[in-house]
Symmetry: D2
Subunit: 257 residues, 4 copies
Amino acid sequence: MEDKLVIGGRELRSRLFIGTGKFSSNEIIPSIVKSAEAQVITVALRRIDFESKDENILNYIPDDCIIMPNTSGARNADEAIRIARLARAAGCGNWIKIEVVSDNRYLMPDNIETIRATEVLAKEGFVVLPYMSPDLMAAKRLKDAGAAAVMPLGAPIGTNRGLRTKELVKILINEIDLPIIVDAGLGKPSEAAEAMELGAGAVLVNTAIATAGDPVKMAKAFSLAVKAGRMAYFSGTGTVKEYAEASSPLTGFLLDK
Amino acid sequence: MEDKLVIGGRELRSRLFIGTGKFSSNEIIPSIVKSAEAQVITVALRRIDFESKDENILNYIPDDCIIMPNTSGARNADEAIRIARLARAAGCGNWIKIEVVSDNRYLMPDNIETIRATEVLAKEGFVVLPYMSPDLMAAKRLKDAGAAAVMPLGAPIGTNRGLRTKELVKILINEIDLPIIVDAGLGKPSEAAEAMELGAGAVLVNTAIATAGDPVKMAKAFSLAVKAGRMAYFSGTGTVKEYAEASSPLTGFLLDK
Amino acid sequence: MEDKLVIGGRELRSRLFIGTGKFSSNEIIPSIVKSAEAQVITVALRRIDFESKDENILNYIPDDCIIMPNTSGARNADEAIRIARLARAAGCGNWIKIEVVSDNRYLMPDNIETIRATEVLAKEGFVVLPYMSPDLMAAKRLKDAGAAAVMPLGAPIGTNRGLRTKELVKILINEIDLPIIVDAGLGKPSEAAEAMELGAGAVLVNTAIATAGDPVKMAKAFSLAVKAGRMAYFSGTGTVKEYAEASSPLTGFLLDK
Amino acid sequence: MEDKLVIGGRELRSRLFIGTGKFSSNEIIPSIVKSAEAQVITVALRRIDFESKDENILNYIPDDCIIMPNTSGARNADEAIRIARLARAAGCGNWIKIEVVSDNRYLMPDNIETIRATEVLAKEGFVVLPYMSPDLMAAKRLKDAGAAAVMPLGAPIGTNRGLRTKELVKILINEIDLPIIVDAGLGKPSEAAEAMELGAGAVLVNTAIATAGDPVKMAKAFSLAVKAGRMAYFSGTGTVKEYAEASSPLTGFLLDK
């Protein structure tokens, strides 16, 4: 069976997207990408220094990856739109992860501004992946606005708190006919596996890898967990039962002999 | 780094042990073992029909596996001891998983009888792996009695309910200087990964694989999840935070330009 | 200490709001209200039959209660606004709970339409309590639009699934300077207590009471639980610890004698 | 309906047992007892100074309470038995809470030694309430040994971690025909309510009250929560559903008019 994730017309083998923030240095990024077997890499446009050759984070991303610039720093739709256009003009391609955040404590995304930005950018031919607070009706509007996928948070960004929004993410998975990519909050591979078991199309992980004791190993751990969760989703999990059931019939072993 | 699990003097590469009950037919077992990359396979002695060549489940287990007969059906220590001796006499080797169960509804193991059986069998040279209800003081006694590992349940056997006893299993992991192998109850790969992230030495899975829609694929999913969890444990997970933290510095993107 | 909840200028003693749907008959409602010690009662306007004396649900609500008509059945802001005006014109007072739902499976509220309706109705002098999907930025906009409180769901309405959105509701409690009233999904008194312990201003319960074996007793149970949770919130809960701590010093009892 | 808890032939109105350790001073204890509406109060025998009038904690416990001395400090059955006998000889009555703990980090009880002490003391006419690690087979033996109730822990003592052992406690409630009293670990009223909703006979709380900001108010909060949980248990909770269900029929409100 071919289980490809298709976004913006691209067939992706990897369902683990990664972010590039918070690493101790850019030099570790190629090893992370390789270890994660990641294809889609998000980079904050404001972190790209196009004038410096050494510092330019893009130089550290392998050529066969899809760069997904994000609009981190945008506080409303207009700023997100400007950043997206700058990214494309700078040669970063036409994928854009929209992040619109004006809350300083939890960095919660602004769904309404995100919908507005999605409408504009999808019309301009971008492959738009909006970061969002999980909410069914907002996700429906993002789909209508032309989003290529939706990216609900599992917990506030950078917290490693896990898939705390499971109840709402499950509803998106069941009701929205787009890939659901859980972004932000996943802190451990088991949590990424859980998201995939529910039917998420992919997950995006940054902090959990960047703040791990051994980021390269953790990238590999997430990669395996995502595959495990996806396989389990396809395989179909067994029924959860209230009472025990013996793996073998219980009675009479010794009496029979 | 070599991360080997050593039990009874054997170095194991695989931290996913599997059970052989509940499969639709024995013929699927070789594919399951291969897909799970399992080395240790548990078989209820009472399910072994030594007289029939076709039906003998042992014929379906690859030669390089360790057979771990279990005493399923034993209702007290004496019965478990007899079954263990029968197993060894029948050529099943000297590993034994002790299961002593007299409760018919939840099939909860009897720690006291299990300790007694462990004492006797360890002295007789068995490599004893006792299935237990997670309890620190019982685990200490199992260690003193000569257990090679302890196997606390995650939830009642056959329920697919997950790692419901996490609080108590964590205590065993922290306090008992033996491999802790979570056995029973794990229903999804994410739950196996979680057990490994906590520091479990291995997990044993049977029902979740046997009752999956595609058991061979699910065996593979568990195999990946166990590796993911183990890697994450070694890598060291990042701190869980209350408030959000941006992956990139928040302020001033557009103003700076 | 006076711990009053003030909404729309009214001082409320009771932090348990109740709904009137799903009861076997209207005749049980007075006992439910009394047992719940409820002051605020929500009624779907469409369930009010102003022409029939017997059937009119309003006749079953004690005089000292605040009727909070809701716009159940509205699929967009305009319909909600019309229902609100009808309710006021019919003498139901100026409180209005806005429900805008166009999703038929999970009945998830539409935050954007809800914000629009809130803006219009607050300007018209209504005391507006919007039912919402928990989302920080939507709650900020509801506050800016003039909402008197916000009512995030704990789980989809009618499911008794509990406070599944805790992560997001906590953020509203911490960041929004309005009473946060958890509405929908709470299935057991312990879940209502938990919401109150987090700092919710009130909870609204309907299905859990109406579908209980003994609704009058369950109403009382919720009433006690809400008080318990509120008291605990004010009292301040003790620290959660990783390791045990004896209630009394551990060492030397018998040796000392 | 009379819903009395009967233990050792005594009819109890209150299902909230309290402990007396960790309070800032003994002088607060009468207010705590009153606020908690507690009848059964546990005191570590070693904290009782029979020679000092002022310091004697027993002087602070109202006359109509049942003193339940505990064997805190005992590291094995023999020590627990000696402490129990000392307590009775000193006039503390014939109730005894057995605590046998030799683990210094999590203070986990020793079920095997506890069963031994229970056997001896029950035969001597004590009303024995053993503190235990939740385990079905150990609970069965405690019942056979003559325990008047069993007291499984919710989490390690003093941690305020909540009902982390729910899976195992539920099994005790379903299978053991004795009052199940959840002791240790409950940190918030909602957690006490949850234990009662499951069918626990009572809960014992100490640390959560003693370490609260306002212990007297917190005692009251726990008292209400325990009543709420018990009422909900008797009332019967409604079904938990996967999908939403409107409190009122969804269609056609405005169209009908």
